[in-house]
């Protein structure tokens, strides 16, 4: 705007532009104080805790750090975490895509209630998400006697860990896809179908390319949460060392045994995962906007 006016009457126009710009600003001192408050708040609550993790992990040198990660129990915890999160993320990916298709491509009654139910695990305490599976499959649980009779182990074993993690991370992929697919509407798909494409062809060649970055981000977020889940997994795990300890549970055990350096070494891997997730978010958002 100042450019257009500037060609007409330079001096007064730029004064006017400055006045308008100033009308959207606080006095300089107030601006400095606000910025200082915001930066201090973020440094205290975000930067310092994160720095603490790496400072403690590497406090006794890089060799000790690597040695802590190479412990058999640590490796077992890393392996278990990977297995659990791969299963949980894959199932929530499939669910998220299917649910987003049903919700965004069709009109049906009760749709908003369905979306609310999908969001439900976000507002349930992780501890409760674990507890419900204890009530179902525990020795005194609804299916406890039947499971024991058939020698099936769900609680304190891999299936329990997977179920609890899947419940906690249930909404992530669906919640990334639904708003975006709602915005995009159904026209592209309708054209593809009327040109003779099958439903699956339409999904893979028309819908998927439109939402791939949001889908990828949903998967990453889901994965970060799945690998880091603590409360729910802690309730169903039984804490069998080397067998049912995921990385966060192993961190807790090491910490409670005062093996702080080792605890922070394993924790630093999880913190790295969080940082990678955030960087990926930025990259994916840039991709999505540039397309």
């Amino acid at each position: 705007m100042s450019v257009v006016l500037g060609t007409l009457r330079p001096s007064s126009a730029s004064k006017r532009a400055r006045h308008l710009r100033d009308s959207r600003r606080e006095p300089l001192l107030v601006g400095w104080i606000l910025t200082a408050i915001a930066v201090t708040f973020l440094v205290v609550f975000l930067v310092l805790p994160l720095a603490t993790v790496f400072h403690q992990a590497l406090g006794r040198g890089f060799a000790a750090y690597i040695k802590a990660l190479m412990e058999l129990d640590a490796l077992a915890a890393i392996r278990l975490t990977l297995v659990v999160s791969v299963i949980a993320v894959a199932s929530n990916l499939a669910f998220g895509v299917i649910a987003a298709w049903a919700i965004t491509k069709f009109e049906f009654p009760g749709k908003s209630a369905l979306i609310t139910l999908i969001d439900l695990p976000f507002s349930v305490s992780p501890v409760i998400s674990g507890l419900v599976f204890v009530l179902l499959f525990g020795a005194q649980g609804f299916f406890g006697a039947w499971l024991q009779a058939h020698d099936i182990q769900i609680l304190f074993a891999l299936p329990g860990l997977v179920l609890a993690t899947t419940l906690v991370t249930f909404p992530f992929v669906a919640r990334e896809l639904i708003p975006l697919m709602q915005e995009q509407g159904t026209q592209d798909e309708e054209v593809a179908i009327s040109l003779g494409a099958s439903g699956l062809q339409t999904f893979f060649r028309v819908t998927l390319p439109n939402v791939k970055w949001a889908l990828l981000y949903g998967v990453l977020l889901c994965n970060a949460r799945a690998m880091g889940e603590f409360g729910a997994v802690s309730v169903v795990s039984g804490h069998v060392r080397g067998e049912t300890n995921t990385m966060p549970l192993y961190v807790e055990i090491l910490y409670n045994e005062y093996k702080f350096m080792a605890a922070f070494a394993v924790a630093s891997l999880l913190a790295l995962l969080a940082l990678v997730t955030l960087v990926a978010k930025i990259v994916l958002e840039q991709r999505a906007t540039s397309e």
């Binding site: 408050i37 930066v39 993790v53 049903a102 507002s123 419940l167 949001a214």
Partner: protein, 296 residues
């Protein structure tokens, strides 16, 4: 929650056009295949993973008589745990409301070195595992920690006290207010502020009478989300809390303790109270989000 993240500066396509064609054709039978099977799978999976397990909680609690339920929930230890969880969560959410609003404002309106990095690390509490946050905050605020040492010198003890719980709850609720308010501030029409200034409003008047009403739904949504998250939080709290019964024992920890004692009924009763509050909060958040969408 993640929907909010996606909204921050996510892709905005030709939403208006798509929405209008949607409305035009929505009433007709859709030509797109897969309605039956996708909705069927969605409902089945949702029931198996979420609805049936959660309803098991209510079935279990129904085996308790009302008197038993009441005496569990109102026992001194349960009551102090619930009071601590809800009370501290409310304080933490309020702190996040104030500082989150300032952070969002500064990130949107000011240019300073590292602004983009600060903007992206706001999401750390979403991505960092709670146990990692828990041991990091405990170490940071411990008596020999980077912040704990100077605080101890002035007589403030954070780790292993309710104040420590508050710090953890502020940490995990931090992104919510920022991420609900930021997009509203970005969308704010510059002209409205300019008009207010031209008509003689002071900066303070413009802020409180023009800007605040339009960010209010976002602020309240963020407050509710941060509160809901804090109430159920477990991992980041238990390390820093000290976990003294009646003093610094949060409700989710009491559930775990009762479970480990095989007192399933006690655990279930406390969980039901928390879950009902979560449902109410979820409905309130939905209302708030619809309200803020209407105001756009």
């Amino acid at each position: 929650m993640s929907a909010i993240i996606a909204n921050v500066d996510g892709p905005t396509h030709t939403a208006g056009m798509a929405a209008s064609t949607n409305r035009k054709f929505g009433r007709h039978r859709s030509v797109i295949p897969g309605f039956g099977i996708t909705l069927g799978l969605t409902l089945t999976w949702l029931s198996l993973i979420v609805l049936i397990p959660l309803s098991g909680l209510f079935i279990k609690s129904a085996t308790l008589s009302l008197g038993e339920f009441w005496s569990i929930v109102t026992s001194r230890r349960a009551l102090s745990a619930l009071r601590l969880s809800f009370g501290l969560s409310l304080i933490a959410a309020t702190v996040n409301l104030v500082f989150g609003a300032i952070v969002a404002w500064v990130l949107v309106r000011y240019e300073f070195p590292g602004r983009r990095i600060f903007d992206s690390i706001v999401d750390i509490p979403f991505a960092l595992p709670t146990a990692v946050a828990g041991i990091a905050l405990t170490t940071l605020f411990a008596e020999n920690g980077w912040l704990g040492a100077p605080l101890t010198q002035v007589g403030i003890k954070v780790s292993y006290t309710p104040l420590g719980i508050l710090m953890a709850l502020i940490f995990i609720g931090l992104p919510f207010v920022v991420r609900t308010v930021q997009p509203v501030l970005l969308d704010l029409d510059a002209e409205v502020e300019e008009v207010a200034a031209t008509l003689g409003a002071s900066r303070w008047q413009t802020l409180t009478r023009v800007i605040l009403p339009s960010v209010l739904p976002g602020l309240l949504t963020g407050l509710a989300l941060a509160f809901a998250r804090a109430v159920g939080e477990y991992g980041s709290v238990i390390f820093i809390a000290g976990n003294l019964p009646n003093v610094s024992e949060i409700a989710p920890l009491l559930i775990v303790i009762r479970l480990e004692e095989f007192k399933y009924a006690d655990a279930t009763a406390i969980a039901v109270v928390m879950l009902v509050v979560s449902f109410v909060l979820l409905l309130a958040i939905n209302r708030l989000q619809r309200w803020s969408e209407q105001r756009k």
